[in-house]
């Protein structure tokens, strides 16, 4: 830990959380990473629904999905559930 932790006088009482977990990157947990074959992907968005970590986003502006590797834990659910087998888990 390089940042100095708050003393008892500084910390907000009753343990109210003051950091969003969106700043806690779990991406380094993974052993396997999903790779998508865009030619097979039909953008059904099933992967975005099933991801336990919400690490696959539907980007409206790109009209495409995007994998967020900083959170993906490499569980492989997306690959297993993809109806067109467009996702493959690679080491």
């Amino acid at each position: 830990m390089t940042t100095k932790e708050k003393s008892w006088k500084e910390a907000s009482p009753a343990g109210v959380c003051w950091k969003s977990s969106a700043t806690y990157l779990t991406g380094d947990w993974k052993t396997f990473r999903p790779e998508r074959d865009v030619t097979k992907c039909t953008k059904c968005l099933i992967c975005t629904i099933f991801c336990p970590d919400g690490a696959i986003h539907w980007k409206v502006e790109k009209d495409d999905i995007e994998f967020d590797m900083s959170f993906c834990k490499g569980c492989g659910i997306c690959a297993n559930e993809c109806p067109t087998k467009a996702i493959v888990m690679k080491m």
Binding site: E5, K6, S7, W8, A11, S12, P13, A14, G15, V16, C17, W18, K19, S20
Partner: protein
């Protein structure tokens, strides 16, 4: 200097006094479970609800554990919360008491002190609340229905004070106070309402980076009650301790303000001293026993004995400094205790009083008298015997056994 408010006298027992005080304090939520000898409190409050005399959500939970959880959750949502329990019910809440103080929820709870099982006993002693002295709750012990009424009202101000933010337990002896009818001076509704005001909230830093009032509010979401690992937990407990230390100042402040308004005071709010200024022998006790002791002190004084009484009103936070000062001239003191710490060489109050006196230059001889367990009455002649023992100790300068029992068939 404001004048004392005109008050009405009502015939109330301790439980009724609690219910009336809570009614007048604009309580938002009451979540409770009945247990003797607190039942009159919850029943009376239910009567108020049924007759539309209060604007309160009254939740009859299915156990005391759930009652405290619901109270905590309601408090966390921003409500002013009140409940009551006793004995086994308080014991059942044990886990939640720590969670409530840890979450800094200003819940006010009346405890009609009653013995813990086994064997089952529904009568008055302090074992229930004593067992919770480490729970982070402020504890006030009252002598009579009047004091109970006054203390419940003050409790909301103490609990919700921004420097405190701790739950408060107002204790009244089971049956002796809870069920005994007394003339009780009652303040007008609007006076009480003005005194307690509306609940104020401290501000906290949330995960959105905002510093906002501490409550569950969809406008300013926050997470309450997370898991704090070893590198974080300790600091929150220190915060609670600081709040307790602040309470030592806040309680007398609130007490003084209330005294001005009502014309009644109980010492400075922490201790009540009776004939203690030049006392050589003194009894230290909590609750209604003090009433009986006072009559014995009067008799002894008339006989020329320099007897006095120290009634500890606020037990948590423990007013060590004030106690030491109060017992300054005393040569021998007896802590009359209505609970036991088995295997502990005396009860909790005895330990803490002795602990406070340990660092003083002239320590009085201090002994412990366990009495009144399971609602057993302690009469004036037994108390007189204690003062006789104290005089013997004072003259012989010896204590043969520091822990004794009064009223026990030995």
């Amino acid at each position: 200097m404001k004048s004392v408010v005109k008050q009405e006298i009502q015939g109330l027992n301790g439980d009724e006094a609690v219910a009336l005080a809570a009614k007048q304090c604009d309580v938002d939520v009451v979540a409770s479970y009945p247990i003797t000898p607190q039942t009159i409190i919850v029943e009376k409050f239910a009567e108020y609800v049924a007759n539309g005399e209060v604007e309160t959500e009254y939740v009859c939970t299915e156990s005391e554990h759930s009652a405290m959880a619901a109270c905590l959750a309601a408090s966390a949502t921003g409500a002013r919360v009140f409940t009551a329990s006793a004995s086994a019910g308080l014991a059942l809440m044990h886990e939640m008491l720590f969670v409530t103080s840890g979450c800094r929820a200003p819940v006010v709870m009346a405890i009609a002190n009653r013995a813990l099982s086994a064997p089952l006993n529904i009568h008055g002693d302090h074992s229930d609340a004593m067992a919770e002295r480490d729970s982070g709750w402020i504890q006030v012990y009252c002598e009579n229905a009047q004091e109970v009424y006054d203390s419940v009202i003050q409790a909301f101000r103490i609990a919700e004070h921004l420097d405190v933010q701790l739950p408060v337990m107002v204790c009244l002896d089971g049956f002796t106070v809870s069920h005994t009818l007394e003339n009780t001076q009652v303040l007008p509704d609007d006076t009480v309402k003005r005194f307690v005001g509306t609940r104020q909230f401290p501000v906290v830093l949330t995960h959105e980076g905002k510093t906002v009032p501490f409550k569950l509010d969809p406008e300013n979401p926050m997470t309450m009650g997370p898991m704090a690992l070893p590198n974080y937990y300790f600091e929150f407990k220190r915060q609670q301790e600081e709040a307790m230390r602040n309470a030592l100042e806040v309680i007398p402040q609130v007490h003084d303000e209330y005294a001005e308004m009502s014309g009644r005071r109980y010492g400075e709010g922490l201790l009540e001293q009776y004939a203690l200024e030049d006392a050589e022998v003194a009894i230290v006790c909590l609750g209604s026993t003090a009433g009986t002791v006072k009559t014995v002190v009067d008799d002894l004084r008339a006989e020329g004995v320099k007897a006095g009484l120290l009634r500890i009103r606020t037990y948590r936070p423990f007013p060590a400094e004030a106690i030491v000062k109060a017992l300054d001239n005393v040569k021998a003191a007896a802590v009359m205790e209505r609970s036991m710490s088995f295997g502990g060489r005396g009860g909790a109050v005895f330990h803490e009083v002795r602990n406070a006196l340990y660092d003083t230059a002239a320590r009085p001889f201090t002994v412990n008298y366990i009495h009144g367990l399971g609602g057993r009455d302690t009469n004036p002649s037994q108390i007189r015997m204690i003062y006789n023992d104290l005089q013997k100790i004072m003259h012989s300068k010896r204590v043969d056994d520091p822990v004794r029992f009064v009223g026990l068939r030995e």
